[in-house]
């Protein structure tokens, strides 16, 4: 009887040990950021002062495809003509890099990509004129 119990315990112990599977946890894959579409300016500041209602930003559009961008109804911006664009890092981007078609020089634009009220915004900060003047545009997709 005791021998049966001993054997059963050993078998059970063996079963417990070998039934544990090592869990291979795969880190979730950070999705690539997708900004394809047509974006307009919903908010603009100059040196911290709200300029949104003091200047007509309403017609401005920047249209992104996978690799190109085009600008319509230009307002002060970090680029004035269309061309190619890339992120500095596709999964964790901190900068948009624009290369206008008429120039070999690339322009780095720091940007934020927050979701506000359930809607994705792009916030860019740049100096189109004097370096001492800082502008911030909040862009939202328009249809």
């Amino acid at each position: 009887m005791l021998r049966t119990i001993k054997t059963s315990c050993i078998l059970l112990l063996g079963w417990f040990i070998f039934s544990c599977k090592v869990e291979h946890a795969t880190p979730p894959n950070e999705p690539m950021k997708n900004i394809a579409g047509s974006w307009g300016i919903i908010h603009a500041t100059r040196n911290g002062t709200d300029m949104t209602s003091g200047f007509d930003f309403s017609k401005f559009r920047i249209v992104f495809t996978d690799s190109t961008y085009a600008i319509d109804s230009l307002v002060p911006f970090m680029v004035s003509t269309g061309g190619k664009w890339v992120f500095d890092d596709p999964q964790y981007p901190f900068n948009l890099i624009f290369t206008p078609a008429d120039s070999s020089k690339s322009i780095l634009a720091p940007f934020l990509f927050p979701v506000t009220g359930g809607v994705r915004n792009i916030i860019v900060t740049f100096s189109p004129g004097c370096p001492s003047n800082s502008y911030q545009y909040t862009l939202q997709k328009v249809n």
Partner: protein, 338 residues
């Protein structure tokens, strides 16, 4: 119960109260930073180094170890943070003590998260300078000093500002403080209010820099001064019109329009019409303004770059014109960066 009679007569009591009262007063007054006087020239040449001296005194009942902080209100166009040296001498130190610019964004103690510069602006103000193109620059001594307390320390601050070439008329303002208490300390309150920990001085006369270009007059109400003063044709510039600044033929106009000429690479481009594009917006009480993007407003080609603009204001008919000083000559603005 036996009445205890103290061996002090009425006269002695009177003296005791007087002495105690005096001692209490000494205990109450325990902290004071003061700028007693300022030596500041009435005028200086554009591009020169302007010497300024602050004669200060510091008194505290309590010993303390702190760094000295000095703030100066300046026009932004001077780019003063990069063009100023500040040092001080005092009773307890030997030789000029160096001070360095406090990096922008450095929080001021008890300042609720504000930087020294923003805290000075919010607490001390802008000395009645009318064009909103001023800033506080702040300097802190490179080391801390042990202030022993109970003596009045005389401190002389020497400031040298290399001003820009521009013609300027500006109300300067100064503050001394220390790095422990900032501008709002409640360390010894009551009875010492936060204002005990800093001293300000507003000179009675503005400083005049005799330089080049249109006078940037911060002191007298101006009909129109473009903001930001440092702008290029790709910036958005705000062109204001203060119809109340001085007598002019548009003082009581209910519609004001902009008439402007841009000068680019030797060409002149005129935009003078009375339409939506040139109409100023009223912000109330005779104040008007318009924001324009010069590259778009003058429809420039990529190769064209504006050096300057000339402008004046008109009524709805275009017949009545107000230029510089209320006269017929236009206002001018040069595109440049500081």
């Amino acid at each position: 119960m036996k009445k205890i009679k103290l061996p002090i007569n009425k006269k002695s009591w009177s003296w005791i109260w007087k002495i105690t009262g005096t001692v209490i007063i000494i205990v109450i007054i325990s902290c004071n930073l003061t700028i007693s006087s300022v030596n500041q020239p009435a005028a200086a040449a554009g591009g020169s180094v302007v010497p300024i001296t602050l004669n200060c005194s510091i008194f505290s009942n309590n010993p303390q170890t702190s760094a000295l902080v000095v703030g100066i209100l300046v026009p932004k166009i001077w780019n003063a943070a990069s063009n100023t040296t500040v040092s001080f001498t005092s009773d307890q130190t030997t030789g000029p003590q160096p001070m360095s610019v406090i990096p922008p964004g450095t929080p001021s103690p008890f300042g609720g998260g504000l930087s020294w510069q923003d805290d000075m602006m919010a607490t001390i103000g802008h000395a009645n300078n009318l064009i909103p193109e001023y800033e506080w620059i702040a300097f802190q001594s490179n080391t801390t000093y042990n202030y022993p307390g109970t003596t009045t320390e005389t401190v002389t601050v020497t400031i040298q500002i290399k001003v820009s070439d521009n013609n300027v008329l500006f109300n300067m303002a100064y503050v001394i403080a220390e790095s422990t208490d900032g501008l709002h300390s409640t360390n010894y309150y009551p009875p010492n209010p936060p204002t005990s920990y800093y001293g300000t001085f507003f000179p009675a006369s503005p400083i005049r820099i005799n330089g080049t270009g249109t006078l940037l007059d911060f002191v007298n109400p101006q009909l129109s001064t473009v903001v930001p003063g440092s702008s290029l044709d790709n910036d958005i510039i705000t062109i204001p019109f203060d119809a109340t600044a001085s007598n002019n033929s548009l003082s009581s106009a209910n519609q004001v329009y902009l008439c402007a000429t841009g000068f680019a690479n030797g060409d002149s481009i005129k935009v003078c019409e009375q339409t939506d594009r040139t109409r100023l917006t009223s912000t109330g009480q005779g104040q008007w303004q318009t924001n324009i993007w010069p590259r778009g407003f003058f429809n420039l080609s990529p190769a064209q770059k504006l050096d300057s603009i000339e402008y004046y204001f008109t009524d709805a008919t275009g017949a009545t014109r107000v230029g510089y000083g209320g006269g017929a000559s236009p206002f001018t603005f040069n595109f440049s960066c500081q």
